[in-house]
């Protein structure tokens, strides 16, 4: 006698209702696909950000090199001026001032360059011993 409540394992199940595991598997596959798509989008965004950041890094590196080179050149120029050019100019001005004291004909030029006022200021200290060229003539 067959038991209708509990079919035997050899008999096919006539009930068409799906098991709960099947929709969960579909949902899991869908989520997995969405996750992969999201991962692709994140990777693409990271690559784009990397390109932008790399460009900025390159730009900043070039700016830094340019500023560093300029600073080295200016510092070298100032050092050379303070060591050689400036003292030579000071000596030239000093001798011109001495010349002006013994030659009255030189008085107009001495007045023009304010030799009596600026003679004490050494040019090698970074301050002009004579007025700037723009203030003359």
């Amino acid at each position: 006698m067959d038991n209708l409540e509990n079919p035997t394992p050899g008999q096919p199940n006539q009930d068409p209702t799906p098991t709960p595991a099947q929709p969960m598997a579909d949902e899991s596959n869908d989520l997995h696909a969405q996750l992969e798509a999201l991962r692709g989008v994140v990777n693409l965004a990271l690559v784009l950000m990397l390109i932008v950041s790399g460009t900025l890094t390159t730009y900043m590196m070039r700016q830094w090199r340019s500023a560093k080179t300029e600073l080295e050149q200016l510092s070298a120029g100032i050092t050379a001026y303070q060591k050689s050019t400036g003292p030579a100019m000071d000596e030239f001005v000093r001798r011109t001032v001495e010349y002006s004291r013994t030659h009255p004909d030189f008085a107009p030029l001495a007045a023009k360059y304010h030799f009596n006022e600026a003679g004490a200021t050494p040019a090698s200290q970074g301050r002009p011993a004579v007025p700037p060229a723009s203030s003359k003539k």
């Binding site: 996750l35 900043m60 590196m61 560093k68 011993a129 060229a133």
Partner: protein
């Protein structure tokens, strides 16, 4: 869920690039600040060079009527260099 190695690599590269960019920005700002600090000195040197050049030109003109100043000009290298608008040893700085 397993992590993608590509994402980790990209994140690492991005972090390195960001840190490098910040470092270069800092060094650039530091160098620019130093350049700004020496600007007055550079301007004073350039002004002084221009004034000395003008003085040398006036002295050359003066020497045409007063040859006794020639030893001074020659010792400074003003007259020996050129006969015209000679300039004493002056180098104009870039800024």
């Amino acid at each position: 869920m397993k992590n993608s190695p590509l994402t980790a690599i990209l994140l690492s590269l991005l972090a390195i690039s960001a840190v490098a960019s910040a470092g270069f920005c800092f060094y650039y700002a530091s160098a620019a600040r130093q350049i700004r600090q020496i600007q007055p000195q550079v301007a004073a040197i350039n002004n002084h060079n221009a004034a000395i050049s003008a003085l040398a030109a006036d002295l050359l003109e003066y020497s045409k009527t007063h040859p006794d100043i020639n030893p001074l000009l020659e010792s400074a290298g003003v007259k020996a260099r050129t006969g015209a608008a000679a300039v004493p040893p002056s180098t104009k700085l870039a800024r």
